[in-house]
Amino acid sequence: MPVARVAVPTTVDEAVQALRETPGAQLLAGGTDFCVEVNFGLRRPPAVVALRRVRELRRYEVTPASVVIGAGTTYADMGGPELSSVLPALAAAARTVGSPQIRNAGTLGGNVATASPAGDTLPLLTALDARVRLRGPSGGRTVALGEVVTGVKTTSIAPDEVVVEVVLDRRPGPQQFLKVGTRNAMVIAIASAAVVVDLEAHDVRVALGSVAPVPVRAAAAEAHIADAIDWRAAGGPRASAAALARFAELVADAASPITDHRSTSEYRRRAVQVIARRALERCVARAA
C-alpha cells in the first residue's frame, strides 16, 4: 500500500489542485467532525488535504452592505468582538457551540459542509439568505445556502470543491439566536431559532434548526408578524400578545421534527416555538 500523503496547501487554489491530483483526498479543517468519524472508524481517508494553513480561508470582510466570512473562520473568531458587532446572532450561535476547545478548532466551512440539522450557524445563515462561494477545478461558483445543504448531512458540494466563504447581507436591526439542549455548554441543539428584524425594510426573518432535515424558514410566521408589528411605535417596534402567540403557532407549523435519541418530536415542536417567540421578544417589545 502506498504511503498516504497529506497535502498542506497555503492557498485555496493549491487546495483545489491537491484535491484534483490526489484520488480520494478529503478536506480537513478543524477536525471536530472529521476526526470523531476517523476515531470511531466511520471514516478512513486514503489521503487528506489539510486546510489549517490556508490563511485566505480565515479572512473576513465587513462592508456597509455585507459580511463575507472565510470558511476557515473558527467559532472563537465568530464570537469575537469584530464579527459579533455586525452579526450578533452568529456570534451568539458560535458561543453556544461545544466548548472552548471545540470553538478554537471548529470552523464555519466545516459546519456548512457537515450540514447537520443541528449545525448551529445554519439557522442564522438561512435567515439571512446566505450565499456560499465554492471553488473547484473549473473555477468558482456562488450558490444559495439552501442549494448547498440538501438534506440531513448531505450537500451539493462536489468532492473536488472547497467552500471558500459565506456571504451575508447586513440587516439594520436586532437579531437573536437561541438554542435548547440539556445543558448550557457542550450540547447539540434539540431545537434552535434565529430571528432577524429589519428596522428599515420592516420585515422579520425566522429560521429554525434541529426541527427538520435542513434548516427551515418559518415564512408564514414571518409574514404574519411583519404585518402585526407596529413599526412606528414610540420607543421602537412592538407587537401585541395575541400577535406574538399567533407567531409562535405559525413557527410550530413550520417545523417537522422527528423523535430521536436526543428528544421527541413533540418536545422539539414545543421548544422551537417558545424560543422563536422569546428571540422575537428580545428584538421587538410586547405591546402592553
Binding site: 504511503v3 498516504a4 500523503r5 497529506v6 497535502a7 498542506v8 496547501p9 497555503t10 492557498t11 485555496v12 487554489d13 493549491e14 487546495a15 489542485q17 491537491a18 480537513l28 478543524g30 477536525g31 471536530t32 476526526c35 470523531v36 476517523v38 476515531n39 470511531f40 478512513r44 481517508p45 489521503a47 487528506v48 488535504v49 489539510a50 489549517r52 494553513r53 490563511r55 485566505e56 480565515r58 479572512r59 473576513y60 470582510e61 463575507v68 466570512i69 472565510g70 473562520t73 473558527t74 472563537a76 473568531d77 469575537g80 461545544g98 466548548s99 472552548p100 476547545q101 471545540i102 478554537n104 478548532a105 466563504e165 448550557n184 455548554a185 457542550m186
Partner: protein, 202 residues
C-alpha cells in the same frame, strides 16, 4: 526525514482570540501544494523536535503523543471532543488532541501538560489541585491543568463565570467541580500575591 515542508506556523497571537486579516486581497501565491508523508514526520512538542515513525494517517495527535512519543500525560477518555482530558495547546490555543490529526500538527507548536513545568516539578496549578482536593481518580486532571493554564495566562483575574466557561469542556466524574474551582481561585490568589497581580507569566 520528510522533505522541507512549506508549513508556515500560525502567526496568531497566543490566546488573543485570533485577529484574522481582511478578506478580498487574494493571496499572491499561485504555487503548487506541498505534501507531507503521513508515516514519518517531525513534530515540535514542548519545544523539542520529535520524530514520529511508522504512523498511520488516521492517528490523532493524542495517539501520537501517547503511543509514539511516550507522553502519556494527555489522557484518552472519549476520543470525541466531549471530555477535554486530552487538552493541549496547538500554536498557543487550547484544543482537544483527539480531534487533531497527528500529521496536521506538523509545523505547529504543541504544548502538553508535561511541558508546563520542568521535569519532575509540579506546576502551581497542579499543586493547588492536589491541595484543594480537586484530584480524585486524577484522570481528568491533566486536561484541567492545561485548560486552567491557558485561561490564567490570558485572563489572570478571570471571574467565577469566566472560569466556569473556560472549563466547560473538561469533564470530571469524581470531584463535583467545587474543589477544582477552589483550586483555580487559590492559584489566582497566590499568583496575585506573589507578583503584584499579574502572575500568569509566560
Amino acid at each position: 526525514m520528510p522533505r522541507e515542508e512549506r508549513v508556515p506556523r500560525e502567526e496568531r497571537e497566543e490566546g488573543a482570540g485570533a485577529s484574522p486579516g481582511r478578506a478580498g486581497a487574494g493571496d499572491a501565491s499561485g504555487g503548487v501544494p506541498a505534501y507531507v508523508q503521513a508515516d514519518t514526520y517531525e513534530l515540535t512538542v514542548n519545544g523539542t523536535r520529535r520524530a514520529v515513525e511508522d504512523a498511520w494517517l488516521g492517528e490523532s495527535l493524542l495517539f501520537v503523543l501517547r503511543e509514539r512519543l511516550g507522553l502519556s500525560g494527555s489522557k484518552n477518555a472519549c476520543e470525541q471532543g466531549e471530555c477535554g482530558s486530552c487538552s493541549v495547546l496547538l500554536d498557543g490555543v487550547v484544543v482537544c488532541a483527539c480531534l487533531v490529526l497527528g500529521v496536521d500538527a506538523i509545523g505547529s507548536r504543541v504544548e502538553t501538560v508535561e511541558g508546563l513545568s520542568a521535569a519532575g516539578d509540579v506546576a502551581d496549578i497542579q499543586a493547588a489541585l492536589v491541595d484543594a482536593g480537586g484530584v480524585q481518580c486524577g484522570f481528568c486532571t491533566p486536561g484541567f491543568v492545561v485548560a486552567v493554564h491557558d485561561l490564567l495566562r490570558r485572563v489572570p483575574g478571570a471571574d467565577e463565570m469566566a472560569v466556569r466557561e473556560a472549563l466547560s469542556g473538561n469533564l470530571c466524574r469524581c470531584t463535583g467541580y467545587g474543589r477544582i474551582l477552589e483550586a483555580v481561585r487559590d492559584v489566582q490568589r497566590s499568583r496575585a500575591g506573589s507578583d503584584g497581580g499579574h502572575g500568569a507569566g509566560a
